[in-house]
């Protein structure tokens, strides 16, 4: 240890603060002059502290979970009351559904109704966006021995995606409902009016050609229409949204911007198809309807 005289030591002690303040200004200037230096110093410190923080993360998470648990316990009473009320409501609906089901069965017996077979579908992975002739299309990977045909309807877990337009041995292209060349006949679920959903290459297709006297209501659900025998009716499409420009648009249920798996339903429709639709041999399959497709979707 250095031995210093007492006055010198006092003078040094008095000088410490001014010197350190000057050093603080120096640090400010240094940080201003070389922004990269501060960044590197921060990263070095974070590197040193990272293991410590990682070790602390577990107890902290436990503490937070405990707090959450306590809050959940406090909210239990209100939650219980809400659930009881909801249960009551659902019970009433269950009664209504059972009554309707019984009535339905009765009426079917009267009519000798032939029930719809469940539609056949395959699930394929989306491997690429875009490409091909269309602006909004996705490419699906399929196995060589697949049964995908042109004109099949693609749905994701939420709703209508598009139609198969081209089929190769290992891939198939689906034209999305948002493409500018896509025209989908739809039905407004509330008014049962027909309209055409026309792609714009934007995220929301617009709605056109609805009958006079009917105005698509904001938030009204759209389902596909069986008109022209192109699609089975009743597939969930989207909801009507009026744009700021005053045109009705469709907010699709399907998340077209993050498609990963789509299901290709074979409804065996024989409507208007693009040319060379007979390139692949058709497989005979029972007619099916969208209602069972929707039921299949709901079951999944």
């Amino acid at each position: 240890m250095l031995r210093l005289s007492i006055p010198l030591r006092q003078a040094l002690a008095r000088l410490t603060l001014p010197v350190l303040v000057a050093m603080a200004f120096g640090t400010i200037l240094l940080g201003k002059a070389d922004a990269l230096l501060a960044e590197r110093a921060r990263m070095a410190l974070a590197d040193i502290l990272a293991p410590l923080w990682a070790a602390m993360a577990e107890p902290l998470r436990t503490a937070r979970d405990a707090v959450e648990e306590a809050r959940g316990l406090l909210a239990l009473r209100a939650e219980n009351a809400r659930l009881r009320e909801e249960n009551e409501r659902l019970r009433r609906w269950l009664a209504a559904a059972l009554a309707l089901e019984a009535e339905n069965a009765l009426l079917r017996r009267q009519l000798a109704f032939i029930p719809d077979p469940a539609p056949h579908f395959v699930t394929a992975r989306v491997v690429a966006d875009g490409g091909g002739t269309y602006a909004r299309a996705v490419l699906l990977a399929v196995h060589p021995g697949h049964t995908v045909r042109k004109g099949q309807v693609a749905l994701d877990e939420r709703g209508f995606v598009g139609r198969v337009t081209e089929v190769g041995t290992r891939s198939a292209r689906v034209l999305l409902a948002t493409d500018v060349s896509s025209r989908i006949p739809v039905t407004l679920e509330g008014s049962r009016a027909r309209a055409l959903m026309i792609g714009t290459n934007g995220p929301r297709p617009r709605l056109a050609y609805w009958p006079e006297g009917v105005r698509p209501a904001e938030g009204e659900r759209l389902v596909t229409s069986a008109e022209s025998n192109l699609f089975p009716g009743g597939l969930p499409g989207g909801v009507v949204r009026w744009s700021e420009a005053g045109t009705p648009e469709v907010e699709l249920f399907a998340r077209l911007d993050r498609l990963d798996l789509v299901r290709l339903f074979d409804f065996d429709t024989s409507g208007i198809l693009p040319p060379e639709a007979v390139a692949r041999p058709e497989q005979t399959r029972g007619r099916s309807s969208a209602r069972t497709a929707a039921a299949t979707m709901a079951r999944q």
Partner: protein, 194 residues
């Protein structure tokens, strides 16, 4: 870094039979731990406050300023200017403010408080808190002005205001354990000195 310095342990009643502990290595370690405890504890608290899952922005500075104020006022030997400098640097590196602003703010607070520490130390807790609020307000204003000068953009007032509120709100919470620690250290030092 000294993990769990001996001063952190509750005060041991000094054994009656022995008068003078020999000034050996353990003794010196003990003194060193006691002297560095406030700084080390503050740094540890700041690192804790900066831990990602805690997720309270501005908590680092709000933890640091009370410690610097308290120790500068009541036990300046435990919070010398170089330690304040180091804490400020740590605060700047843990946060995202321009480098050096925390250092300068803390040093100025430290200087002002040590200058008037005798009148401050005589006050009641409430008055000290009010004085601390004034210091925290000045520090927040200085930090805001420095950020404005260094980035040449007007920083938003709301975060600075929230930071100030957090800083003054945390003081009583931190002053209580620090007061306990202070009393303990003083007692142990008196015992060691006696």
């Amino acid at each position: 870094m000294i993990g769990g310095p001996p001063g952190a342990a509750p005060p041991r009643p000094s054994p009656q039979g022995r008068k003078e502990p020999p000034p050996g290595l353990l003794h010196r370690l003990d003194a060193l731990g006691r002297a560095s405890l406030p700084g080390v504890a503050t740094a540890g608290l700041m690192v804790l406050a900066a831990a990602p899952p805690a997720g309270l922005p501005g908590a680092v500075a709000a933890v640091c300023l009370p410690a610097v104020f308290f120790w500068s006022a009541f036990h300046p030997a435990a919070m010398p200017a170089p330690v304040v400098f180091a804490l400020g640097l740590l605060q700047d590196l843990l946060g995202l403010a321009p480098l050096g602003t925390g250092v300068l703010t803390l040093l100025l607070v430290h200087g002002a408080v040590t200058r008037w520490r005798r009148p401050i130390a005589r006050q009641t807790f409430l008055v000290v808190w009010v004085l601390y609020c004034a210091a925290a307000g000045a520090a927040a204003a200085l930090g805001w002005a420095l950020q404005f000068l260094l980035t040449l953009r007007l920083p938003a007032l709301t975060p600075a205001w929230h930071q100030f509120l957090l800083t003054i709100g945390l003081y009583p919470l931190l002053a209580w354990p620090m007061g306990w620690l202070h009393r303990t250290v003083v007692r142990v030092e008196e015992e060691a000195g006696a």
